[in-house]
């Protein structure tokens, strides 16, 4: 085939256009939140004392840290979908959630007597937590990987991992509304583990699915 013939072919295909990555991400996040939210309401639902709980700092912090994580990862993902962006200027934002978590853990250790540290870290629901967060994250992860397919990420595994961070953050935010373990010690341990699993899964799938 001559290159001129190929160019003529590509011109013939010009009317068929894929969704631009930014719009694809917007769709993926909205649909992902709806799916994860629907799954949450059909299975667990919010804890019975939700209205009282939202007046406590520890409960609210779980939403702050998970939503900050998802939002910062989304900003990075939008850049990573562009082939010419080697290092997103947004990437430092990914430190925001970990820094918040470290501060919260420090405050918890400062305010809570030492013999309470381990019980709070272990909590009541660690297995449930590390199971449900990844399950709630699966829908959003699939959608975010689909969104990344319309992009051209330089590093497919890393792009998949960032999709996993967004999905993990979304899944964790819903799970947080159900869980009675509010201590930052619990969140820093088990939420991190659960979101890490989703991130690893995203990287694994991304390294295969997001090549272009």
């Amino acid at each position: 085939m001559k290159t001129d013939d190929l160019i003529a072919s590509l011109t013939a295909d010009a009317p068929v256009q894929q969704t631009p990555p930014r719009r694809a991400f917007l769709i993926a996040v909205i649909a992902g939140v709806l799916i994860a939210g629907g799954a949450f309401l059909m299975t667990l639902g919010p804890r019975h004392d939700f209205m009282q709980a939202i007046r406590t700092l520890r409960f609210d912090f779980k939403f702050v840290v998970t939503i900050v994580l998802a939002a910062s990862a989304l900003l990075v993902a939008r850049d990573m979908a562009r082939p010419e962006v080697h290092r997103s200027r947004m990437r430092m934002l990914l430190l925001a959630a970990p820094v918040l978590l470290v501060i919260a853990v420090a405050l918890e250790l400062y305010t809570v007597p030492q013999d309470q540290w381990m019980p709070r870290l272990i909590g009541q629901n660690m297995r449930f937590c590390t199971t449900m967060i990844p399950l709630f994250a699966l829908g959003p992860l699939a959608l975010l990987l689909w969104a990344f397919r319309s992009g051209a990420p330089e590093n497919p595994a890393r792009a998949g991992a960032v999709a996993g961070l967004i999905a993990g953050g979304i899944g964790a935010a819903f799970y947080a509304a159900h869980c009675f373990d509010d201590s930052p010690l619990f969140v820093a341990t088990w939420y991190t583990l659960a979101i890490g699993l989703v991130t690893g899964l995203g990287a694994f799938i991304g390294s295969r699915l997001l090549r272009w």
Binding site: T3, A8, L10, A12, V16, P21, E154, W212
Partner: protein, 190 residues
């Protein structure tokens, strides 16, 4: 913030063509690809020579890059400079080609594609890899892609000849092109 496209520069002209193309102007889109192709050719020849592969199949690389540009054109942000985007796509594909041939690719990041006019003529030889890949497409996709890309029929004529709707031909054709890009990645025709 990267500098915006300077007005009147060749890069700005390309960006303008690309914007028009994305807005549905097929003539502008074709003009852009025709303007880019010689630069890609030089880029591919230089890149292959530098890695010691030899530039015999440079035209295959040009075609693979053009296909990637086409399939990823929605990732260009229209308010951003065009050349860094083009370079990134070309570089990504060249690295891919070299990796498939077992070479460690060393491709500098910036300034690969020159926008200055040059004398390189399009070779009369036609590249062969894409033909082999077309023959590996599945039934309907192969028929449609052959008709349009190899035999030069229009979408309309192809639809009439195959008794398909134009919409169905467009879909099969687009999927066929995507599949071709995948077949390249899976190791090409080798």
């Amino acid at each position: 913030m990267p500098p915006a496209n300077k007005p009147d520069s060749p890069e700005a002209a390309w960006a303008e063509l690309m914007r028009a193309g994305l807005a549905g102007n097929a003539a502008a889109y074709r003009q852009l690809l025709e303007a880019i192709a010689p630069r890609l050719r030089k880029f591919a020849v230089n890149g292959l020579l530098r890695s010691g592969i030899g530039n015999a199949d440079a035209e295959d690389v040009v075609q693979e890059i053009l296909l990637a540009i086409h399939l990823k054109r929605q990732t260009w942000m229209q308010d951003q400079p065009f050349l860094p985007w083009l370079n990134a796509i070309a570089r990504h594909k060249l690295i891919d080609v070299m990796r498939r041939r077992g070479r460690r690719a060393e491709v500098p990041i910036e300034g690969l594609i020159e926008i200055l006019p040059d004398e390189t003529q399009a070779p009369e030889t036609s590249a062969s890899e894409l033909n082999k890949l077309v023959s590996r497409l599945d039934g309907k996709q192969q028929t449609v892609v052959s008709s349009i890309s190899l035999d030069g029929h229009s979408i309309k004529d192809t639809a009439a000849a195959l008794g398909m709707s134009e919409g169905a031909v467009r879909v099969a054709f687009h999927r066929g092109l995507k599949r071709l890009a995948e077949l390249y990645r899976e190791g090409g025709a080798a």
